[in-house]
Structure formats: C-alpha cells, structure tokens
Symmetry: D2
Subunit: 334 residues, 4 copies
Amino acid sequence: MTVRFGLLGAGRIGKVHAKAVAGNPAAKLVAVADAVEKAAKDLASAYGAQVCTIDEIEKADGIDAVIICTPTDTHADLTERFARAGKAIFCEKPIDLDLGRVKTCLAIVKQEKATLMVGFNRRFDPHFAAVRKAIDDGAVGNVEMVQIVSRDPGPPPAEYITRSGGIFKDMTIHDFDMARFLLGEEAATVTAQASVLVDKKIGKLGDYDSASVMISTASGRHCTISNSRRATYGYDQRIEVHGSKGMVAAENQRAVSIEVANGSGYTRPPLLDFFMTRYTEAYANEIATFVEAVEKGRKPAPTGEDGLIALAMAEAALRSVKEGRTVKMSEFER
Amino acid sequence: MTVRFGLLGAGRIGKVHAKAVAGNPAAKLVAVADAVEKAAKDLASAYGAQVCTIDEIEKADGIDAVIICTPTDTHADLTERFARAGKAIFCEKPIDLDLGRVKTCLAIVKQEKATLMVGFNRRFDPHFAAVRKAIDDGAVGNVEMVQIVSRDPGPPPAEYITRSGGIFKDMTIHDFDMARFLLGEEAATVTAQASVLVDKKIGKLGDYDSASVMISTASGRHCTISNSRRATYGYDQRIEVHGSKGMVAAENQRAVSIEVANGSGYTRPPLLDFFMTRYTEAYANEIATFVEAVEKGRKPAPTGEDGLIALAMAEAALRSVKEGRTVKMSEFER
Amino acid sequence: MTVRFGLLGAGRIGKVHAKAVAGNPAAKLVAVADAVEKAAKDLASAYGAQVCTIDEIEKADGIDAVIICTPTDTHADLTERFARAGKAIFCEKPIDLDLGRVKTCLAIVKQEKATLMVGFNRRFDPHFAAVRKAIDDGAVGNVEMVQIVSRDPGPPPAEYITRSGGIFKDMTIHDFDMARFLLGEEAATVTAQASVLVDKKIGKLGDYDSASVMISTASGRHCTISNSRRATYGYDQRIEVHGSKGMVAAENQRAVSIEVANGSGYTRPPLLDFFMTRYTEAYANEIATFVEAVEKGRKPAPTGEDGLIALAMAEAALRSVKEGRTVKMSEFER
Amino acid sequence: MTVRFGLLGAGRIGKVHAKAVAGNPAAKLVAVADAVEKAAKDLASAYGAQVCTIDEIEKADGIDAVIICTPTDTHADLTERFARAGKAIFCEKPIDLDLGRVKTCLAIVKQEKATLMVGFNRRFDPHFAAVRKAIDDGAVGNVEMVQIVSRDPGPPPAEYITRSGGIFKDMTIHDFDMARFLLGEEAATVTAQASVLVDKKIGKLGDYDSASVMISTASGRHCTISNSRRATYGYDQRIEVHGSKGMVAAENQRAVSIEVANGSGYTRPPLLDFFMTRYTEAYANEIATFVEAVEKGRKPAPTGEDGLIALAMAEAALRSVKEGRTVKMSEFER
C-alpha cells in the first residue's frame, strides 16, 4: 500500500515534510494547498503533485492522509474537518495556542475515531532515540536528572513572534515534549524564568528570548531546560540524562566532521544551522512512523494528548514567570 | 619573605591545604593543631611542622597566617580570634551556617582590619580561570546564560550530612560562588527545587541529594545549576557560559587521556574521582594567591563578603524549595 | 534531461550504486544485468527497472550510461565494449589488475572519445571533500605530510581474496587515490611492508592482511598509509594532512553520536560498520558527479588515468615488499 | 634515605631534571656543574645546591648519583668516569652518536657494575604508560600495528642541528624507543624516507626536517612513525596501538581544557608547547623511578642497552634513506 498525502501549507516546514514524504517508498505526495498559490505550485511541481484547494483535498477519494502545516490558528479547525472527512492527520505542533480549544478539538478527533499524530520531530532524531534506547536498555539505571539545552541560531522575525504564542508555546514546547520523553514520568511542577537579552523588539511584543525551566516529577526527578533565541555557533540541541547507574548524552551535529589545527588552536566547524538541516533524518523517521501507523491501522504517537500536555506545560511555565512561583501541573485539569 | 603557616584542622581538606603550602616556595607550614592528636602528628611530621594547640598558634610570633579547616561551627569563632591576634586568615567555606553569625564575624574582621580569604577553590582551577579569562577577553560577548553541572561521585556519610548545613550550604555554595564569578553580576533571584533520589537516609535527616537551581540577575542574565550527590563516572564538574557572541565551556578532567576502542565502542576512563584530585592545581593556586596577598599586604579575594553572599544564596535556595516560590535576594539585607 | 542507467552486476556494490541512482532526481535505473538471474531480478524490481542481458543493454537506445560492477576480470572488456557502443561508463575500480591491460583499454576509450569515470568513492565523501577544500582554502599552507589510516572491520572470504589482486590492488588502491587527492602532487616513490596477522588463510593465498606504505613526492612531501583487514571497532577511515601553516583531519563516523558514562568510563558507539554505510553520501555524490558530467557532456574525474596511476602505485608497493626496497614510480612508464 | 644528586649541565633539559629532583621527597639536588658559570649558579641557587666542578662532584662522598645533561659528545666519557667513581648515573639520550662508542662505554658500565639509566622520558608519561598498561591488561589483544606521530613545534637553531647527530638520532630516537615499548618485540627491519620541507638551512647542514619510518618485527608487527620539525598547533605527540581485539590511543595534551564556540566554529586551545611543559609529569616519574632504583639497589630501565638499540635503529633509518632500501637490524651486531 502507498499512503497518498495532501499537504496543507507549503511554507518552511511544509517543504520539510514534502521532502520526507517524497523520500518514503510507502508514501506519495499527491496534492498541495496553500493560500499563496505560487508556493503551492512550486512545491507541487517539485514532487509531481497537484495544486488543490483544501476543499478538494477534503473530498478527494485518492487522498489517505493530510499534513497540516498551515498557520497555527487554523490547526484545530483543519484537524476537526479532516477527522470528520476520514483522513489520517499529521498535525504540526501546536494544535492550538489555547488549551481549551485543543481539548474540544481532541474530543472531536476521539469521537470520529480519527488517526492523529502531532509533530514532535525530536523524538525521531536517531541520536535522541538512541538516548531513549540506552535508558530503556538500563544503561543509566533509574532516570534522575535530565538536562536539555536548546538554542536557536537567531531570533525569528517580529511577525513570527506575534503569532507564535510566545517562547514557551513555540520553542520550549519541543523541550517539554523531550522532557516527558526522557523523564519517563509526567511533570508534577514547572518553574520558569525568562528575560529579553537578544532582541528588544521581542520584549516589546510581550515575549521573551531567553528562558530557563525546571521540572519536577512526583517521584522527585528533575529536568532543566535552557533556551535562547541566539547561538552564534549554530543550532544548539543537546540532551543529557543522568541516572542511578550512569549518564547518557547526545552530542551536537555538524555537516562535516573535520578539525583544523593551527596557532589559534583546534577548530571544528559550527553546528548544523537550523531544524531543516539538523533534523532531516528525524523528519523522515517521523513521517515513516506516521505512514506505517496509517498502513497498519494503528494509533501513532506522539498523540493529540501528548500535544495537549506539552502545551499545558508551556502554559504553566508562562504562569510561573508571571507569578514568580512554582506551578503545579494539577492546576491544569485535562 | 616566607609566609609561615599554622594549620587548624588536619582532616581531609587540611591535608589538601598542607600539601599546597608545602609545594609553595614562598610558604612554610610550621604548626598543625587538631583535636585528634594523631591526625595533627601525622600531618605535622609529613611536612616538618610542629604539633601545637590553637592557643600556641595564636600567640606564636613566628606564625604569619592560619588556615582554618576545623568543623564549620568553629570557623566564625576562630576567624574572630585570629583576626584579633593579627594573623592573616584563610578560612574554609562557609564561615558559618548562620547568616547573622557570619555578619557579626565579618564586622570584627573589618574592625580589626584583618586579612581574610574564603576558600572557594574553583575560581583558581586553571580551566575555570581560563573560562573567566575568555569572557574577559570578549570571546563570548555579553554573558547571557551560565550552566553549571556539579555532581559528587557519591553521597557523604550521615554524620557529615548532619553537620553540613544541607546540600545548598555544603555543596551548591561552591556553584553559587561560580555563578557570581561567571555571571559578572549579582543574583537578583534564586529559585530551586530539590529531592531525595540517591540515599533515603539523607532525606530522613531533612536534607536533599539532588537539586536544581535557577538564578536571575537584574539585567536578565540566567544561571542554572544541577547538583547530585551521585555520579558513577567520577566527579562531574562542568561550566558553560553562553553570550551574545559565542559560548565557552570547560571540560571534565581525567587522570589519563587515553581511549580504548573495541566492539563495545570507544571508551575513555572515568573522571578524576573527587575534589582532592580534581582540584589539586586549584588548591595550589588558591594558596599562592593568599600567600602573595599576605606578602604584599593586599586584600585577597574571595573575600568574607563573597562568602556571605554565597551563603545568602544558599539560604534563598532553601527558602525557595520550602515555599515553592522565587526568592528575591533583596529579602536578605546584608 | 534524465540519465538512464544500465547496471552491470547486482552484487554488493551494485546495490549501493542502484540506490544512489534511485536517489538522484536526474537519473533513472532502467536495466539490470547479472549472471545470477535472481540477483538481477531482485534489484531490478526494487527500483522498477528491467532485467536485461548485457547485449540488450549494449544495444538499447534508451540507455545513456552503464555502471560496471561485475567481477574485476570483466571490467576492461566491458569498458571497451560500451565505449564502442557510445554509452557513458562508470567503472568500479580497478579497470583491470594488469597495468598493460588497463593501458590498452584506456587507449580504446580515448579512441572512441568515450566518457569514463572510475569509482574512487572516497573523494566524494563530504568529510574528505571538506579536508580537500580546507587545503584549497589555504588552511594548512603547503601540504607536507599526509597520514591515512584505513582498516576494514574484518577480512573478506578466501574466494574474494583470490580474485582481488591482493591487498594493495584491492584495498590500498583507495588510499593511493586519496594520497594523490590530498598530496596534490604525484608520488615519486613508494615503499611498503606487509604481513599476515589477521588470517593465515590469506597468507596461504599469497596475500597480506596488514600493510604499511610510505610515499614521497618530487618536492619531498610524505604520505603514510596504514592498512589492516581487521578492526573490532568498525570501519576505520581517517585522513590527516599536515602542512606549513597547520593541520586538518577528518574524524571517523558513527551511526549515532551518543556517549554513555558509568564506572567503566565514557563510551561512544563503534564506528559505522563498512563502506555501504560509511560512504552512503559519498556514493550518492559520486553518481551525482557522473550524472552531471554526462548531462553536460563534460569529462568526469576520477578518470581512467587516475585509475591507472593508483594501480601502478599498488604494483609498486607489491614490488617494494617483494624486493625490500624503495620503488620509483618512474619504473612504470605510462 | 635521600638520594643526593649532582647535576652535570645546567641547560634546558638540566633545568627540567633539577625541578624533578626538587619535587621528589626522596631526592635532593646538592651540586650543579656547568661550563657556563652563570648557568650553574642560577640553577644551584634556585634549589639551594652548590656550584661545583665535575671533578668535585666525582670525588664528593655526599653525592650518590649524577644526572648527565652536558653536550652529547661528553656523555660517554662522563658515564665511564662516574661509573668508575661509583655514582649511580642518569644519562640523557643518546649516550653517544656513534654506536661503537656506546658499546665500549656500556662495557665499562658493566665491568664497574654501575647503575645506569638512559633518559627516554616518554615511557614515564602517565598517558603513554596508561596505553602500555592497557596493552598489558589485554585491552587490545595481540599488538599488530603501532602509529606514532611526533612533531616539534618548530625547528631548532642551526647550531643545535650541527651537534644533534641528525633528525633520526636526535628526534626519532624517542619514537624508536616508544616503538619498542609499545610493540613488545624488537624491530627486525627499519625503512625510512626523509626530506627538507621546513627549513632549507637544515638541508644545507646535511640533515632532514621531515621523516617517515616503517618498522617491522619478526612476527610481522608494524610501526609507522611520522616526524616533522614543525607544528603550528603545538607539540604534537600521539601514539596509537591497534591489536587483534581493539585499539588504544593517547590524546594530545593542553594547558587548559576549554572550548570556545562562535560563528567560526568550536575551538580548543593549541597543545602544550614543547617537552618541558608536555612531559613535566613524565620527567618527575622518570626521576622517581631512578631514585627508587638507587634506593633499593635495583637496575633501572630504560637501560644502556635500550639506548644502544634505539641508536642502532636511528642508524638503520639513516642507512635506509641513503640507500633507498629496507635495512635489517641484523646488519648491526650488538
């Protein structure tokens, strides 16, 4: 069986997913929709797909699944619509910036018994997956403390910030998902601090560009997250898990592994520049997981619930910053 | 000039300082006092010094300076006493577990115009000093986010815990000093979380063995600290400073830099096992700094005030854990 | 334009090239020939190609280029045949084990003005190409000394050894090409030593499994090569170039970049296991270079002459071992 | 017991040994002799020793041992003289540049039953010793191939070259000793190539500044050595041992282990600059080994014979370069 895909949204992340679909022998990109016709056309023609409207994709018998990478404020509506249309849905994170809206959307997904997977790509990175596997294999014993460093190479444009939901819902949300992935236990509390160090415009928009987060679990496990919208040396993506028997860490990635030595020292190149290059394999594995789930009629993960919990953690972090206190996750009923 | 030393306390850290004094051509260990006579004798004879009482050291004309490494609850009394006796004082951290007691002690040091240096050895580690120098040389631009990981190889015995003042005053206090050293700005807030993951006995004593701390400064800089009383792979001591122009980090240290490769992978040896081996050079540099200050009649750093502030941060961390909130350093007047 | 390929030989390396062709948007695999019909069928069906005889491929108008990965003793004949048939030719190294036979073959390629590229894949490895680029960019100044370490994970079966031409023509030949690639100057002399340390069967077949080679150039540059048919830690492929201004080196590659630490030390996984995994990108880039040359009517490199020189160096190494002396490349007229 | 030392030669390496003696609690530097009186005075006064003539040291009852670091052409004479005087002798390598002279000297040492140790400091480097220990512990199985890279930071002055005996006897001689140390088997053949790439003056003096060497043993083990009188990145000292079960390597050493990252990449500092800093611990361990042997009346290693064999290998390398052939060590009878 080949899973036939309609792609909603032909922007930056849409292109990444289109490439992942094209590289998957069990998948085929058949339709692309985008409000900007040129964007849709360019992407469609690159992969031999057709430009369609969202309506056409919804009704097309020849389309099994959709990838939703339209602006965030359309995710929940589209997810509901395609759940009702009987298509399998891969939705970019977050489903919505509002917790309540996500819940109603997930209720409909559940009612329609739709297949929904949320785009937390990092779980599928081979290096991070190998860290998870090392934990599962007992290499570190009981997980005790997780350290996540996640720094973007540079701040996004102001327009992006405005629609992003803020650093916690836009950027840290990936780290919240990684925290859950690595801790192996739900967060009980979230405590955060945030400031504006990189770009004053971000502060004027009410957002932050530098954030630190601490998470605790019921059994006393810890996770710390360090985020910045700036890293002159590339896309800094590190995880480290410390446990009762040892430690496991994933190193940063480079395009080429060379080192030049001279009187100034020993220099390795900067890191891969951003998610499109750093997570190429992760995106391919992510789509492969979705495709396999659709083929076999299984429920894929990360689920809508995973998306909801990460969003609630982002909400908790924001509340923690605003109120200067540790926020209990029990304050957010699911 | 040779600075002649009396050593108060011949325990684990006393031995470390005795060795540092012996290795310094401008210093000489002349007297050792310890409640346990055998300990004093062994150490004195190893370095050609005499066993004395504290009284004798206090009155000896031939002694210029003392190193106080007796139990913590005697530090403040001894500091006052030797300040009055006109000896230069090197006091192991902390001066006292009680902030008020430290303040009265420092007042007397001030009144006596005594020379006092507090033992925050890590500032003198060549690797950490090189990180500080890189910052001073502009290698990372403005400091934005500091990450400190500090893990002991294993938990101390219960007796030690009882007298230690708890993880924040005993262990994290070094990291609080490093945070100030690296941030280049005073902490405005401290937020902490702590739990018992390593040894239940520690919990029964009302202490923690795993802690995470976030610090913020007035200008919005961040520091995170990750502490554990357990690390199967050695004494884990890492710092990393992220700034507007780049990042600088210090690597962990090993006794030997070899790597063995076979079917199981590429393996480097565990880290140096604890502070006595890891910070050998730091202790030597620390004493050298003190000796030079005494010789030249200058005030050495870290000062008593540095000791006081680090202790206040430890107090703040504890309060943060107990009250589940971010604690402002302004709550502690100096 | 799409370059349509016929593949001759559906064995281990044939599969590698088929995959590279399939992943190239400007290329298409249309036909596969192999003496073992099942091998041809399996590979053809995996990529939507047809099973053909060599005759059929030779005559097919719809085939622009062939990849020759049949047994070595057929390479020269097939190269001549397809040169006469007007197809572009990508021939796996070596063209033949006999220098004279290679020369007559290249004469025919020249006479037919055929397009011929020889399969020295390592030049196309991104890491090694980055080393070459660093040299070209002046990062190391004048090249002085090149170090190549190349170790297979394990010895090939006896049948393979018999047909391989021996370690120098089979394995070191790649390093000879890399030496030329990195030295930027032809070898003037070759000196070698070789022994049997891994598998006595290899010795009984008159071959060696462990070899060291020194190369010098007219201007006095050096290259050393270290080869073994055994490496318990994976496929060990390292190059290092030392010059008047500095040094540049390429590190080994792993499937995942994680590190596990415990009481036994810090362990990273073994290396990628062999050329099929280690040089995936190199093979893709190699075919892309060939495809682009065919499209644009340009002569691709490595050329037949490159293949001839590397073979002559292998011959020189063997002579050096047999005669216990430094062999001048001028002993081999081209 | 304290071993009382006379030091012959207060130059660069004399200072290194004086420091090693001063740092050893079981040793004491009591006398220093040097043709340049100021050099002797400065060194003597730094360590509380007396300036003496060689005659005085020879006759002094209060001197147990001498360290010979005078110019090479005096080593053999002085060794004989102090052997006859009944002093334990630590002689810097080489004993003489002439094999015959070394043999007659060693005959006298034997006849006098004198204690003689030759200064191959690298065996005592903790990292290289750890490599040897890993081999002894079976970590790599049977040793198969040893790789040694040894590059000086820059060429010595012409005067030094003139007296040095040439690159093989001056520089590679250390690597020949390391080859024996690591191979665990005597060299059967030596093959070398050498050229002038760094400094033409060196060529005019009949010497080389760049050399490559291959060594084979009777059982077929290999060693390659790569030498240069130039390395812009510091004193490059690496060893790697490949065996039937794995590989072990020692990394280069730096003064501080920090890394700075920015848009240009990730940079670690250059290496330690030369033997005085790189081998500080090795020199201390070397003297400690000698002191312990003197104290316990044992014969220390490396022995005079070790010095002789390394010198013969250097002679073989030179002959190999001159005659363009592999030289058998059996050509040099001991």
